[in-house]
Amino acid sequence: MTATTLTRPRPAATVPAGRPRRRLKPGRPIPFGGAVGPLLLLAVWAAGSAAGWLDPRTLSAPWTVVTTAGDLIADGRLQDNLAISAQRAGLGLVIGTVIGTVLALLAGLSRWGEAILDGPIQIKRAIPALALIPLLVLWFGIGEQMKVITITLGVFVPVYIHTHNGLRTIDTRYVELGESLRLRRTDFIRRIVLPGALPGFLLGMRFAVVGAWLSLVVVEQINSTSGIGYMMELAREYGQTDVIIVGLVLYGLLGLLSDGAVRLAQRRALSWRRTMAD
């Protein structure tokens, strides 16, 4: 060390005062953090196939799956089945969301609505969607109607539960504010009830989109002649592992994409909230 460095004054501002405080928040978000886990999984799968640890009859290699997907796209089977599946899921999702939201509003805004609706919906929640299928088949046959109704039943419950919970947990101080400002009922619902219940509704939607794809798998693998589930079921009969995996990857992608869409909507709609994740 030389004399010059010794005489140079230390900039006081950069010296931390004492130990830095422990951060309780999880820290800065990792860019594309959501992709890290899936990519790692893919890497393990590829390595396993390349090294020959995975029998192609048990689990086809990623590149086989990609070529198979290419073939399926070339002969149009993938698009056709995907379109039909997406239509079923989308229709069930829309109808289920509307029903769930309307029921939640009825139950949340009126005591009678709650008394009449909440019990039966809680009972429905306790019955797995799968267990209802025999009855639905008897009632509606094995056509599109039964499929969309099954998906709708799977969707409306989480939408109802979370929206209703969101409504019930709106701070009564805001209700009092609405009363003190003599808000009309429509304004009260538009400015206080709906925005107050929005976080709950969006959480319900995240469960609902995943639920829609889950119900889709179930209805398409029984009594179906089209859709991704049917394509996979057929592949099972012919022992085509690669086609099954194409279907699985597709389901996974669809689930991820739709969940991502809801999360994006969440971020946009709830930008007023400051939470630990931000």
Partner: protein, 245 residues
């Protein structure tokens, strides 16, 4: 609840007669009477739990689920300011001010009200981006934008620091001089009551124990001997030794 809401006379803004409010067996207000003249600024003092909020909520018509009876005669057009600013966190500042306001000129009026409380330019901010004092100023703008005949405020500055509170006193005085509403300000701060009000009431055991007109020239301060005399009277009535306060 057998409370009667009737019309009002020209010189009187508030009339309360034989008001009873009870929680379970305990009557918080019993045979309570009160009259407030038009344009009067009244401060209501009282120990914690003496029923100040109960009275204010009765006047605001916010106590529909409380047991009671009596006559409450207040103007239809009255506003409430709460101790917490009570802004809707999911609405921007301007939309909070416009809540419940109707008419084609509502946005202009909202902007003017925000400018009046010194928040011009913050209309697109979210409430949680504002400081406590700024939030309470938005609440004041929201209360006054409808040009209320009666302003009911329940410890509106209770949660603010001393310096911010002093600045809010100045602002409230200014706004009241301009809009001339009748004011009932609930507070536990004797100095705040004497500084702001034309008349100070002290609530004790469900009744008005002290009712004094404050006759002091502006600017009011501790340097006025009359100020200290009012202070001593009110503190004694609250059961506090003035030499210790």
């Amino acid at each position: 609840m057998a409370t009667h809401h009737g019309g009002l006379t020209a010189t009187r803004t508030v009339r309360v007669q034989g008001l009873l409010r009870r929680f379970g067996e305990r009557a918080v207000l019993d045979g309570f009477d009160l009259e407030i003249g038009a344009g009067e600024f009244v401060a209501l003092l009282g120990r914690s739990g003496s029923g100040k909020s109960t009275l204010l909520r009765a006047l605001a018509g916010l106590d529909g689920d409380v047991q009671g009876s009596g006559l409450v005669d207040v103007p239809e057009n009255s506003s409430v300011v709460f101790q917490d600013a009570r802004l809707l966190p999911w609405q921007r500042v301007l939309d909070n001010v416009l809540l419940g306001l109707r008419g084609p000129d509502a946005p202009q009026r909202g902007l003017a009200a925000l400018a009046e409380v010194g928040l011009a330019g913050r209309e697109r901010a979210w409430p949680n981006e504002l400081s406590g004092g700024e939030q309470q100023r938005v609440a004041l703008a929201r209360a006054l934008v409808s040009e209320p005949e009666l302003l009911l405020a329940d410890e509106p500055f209770g949660a603010l620091d001393a310096l911010t509170r002093l600045r809010m006193h100045g602002l409230l005085r200014e706004l009241c001089a301009r809009h001339r509403p009748t004011v009932l300000l609930v507070t536990h701060d004797v100095d705040e009551a004497i500084t702001l009000a034309d008349r100070v009431l002290l609530l004790d055991a469900g009744r008005i124990a002290v009712d004094v007109a404050i006759d002091l020239p502006a600017p009011r301060s501790h340097r006025q001997s009359q100020f200290l005399a009012y202070r001593e009277t009110l503190l004694r009535a609250l059961g506090v030794d003035p030499t210790e306060a």
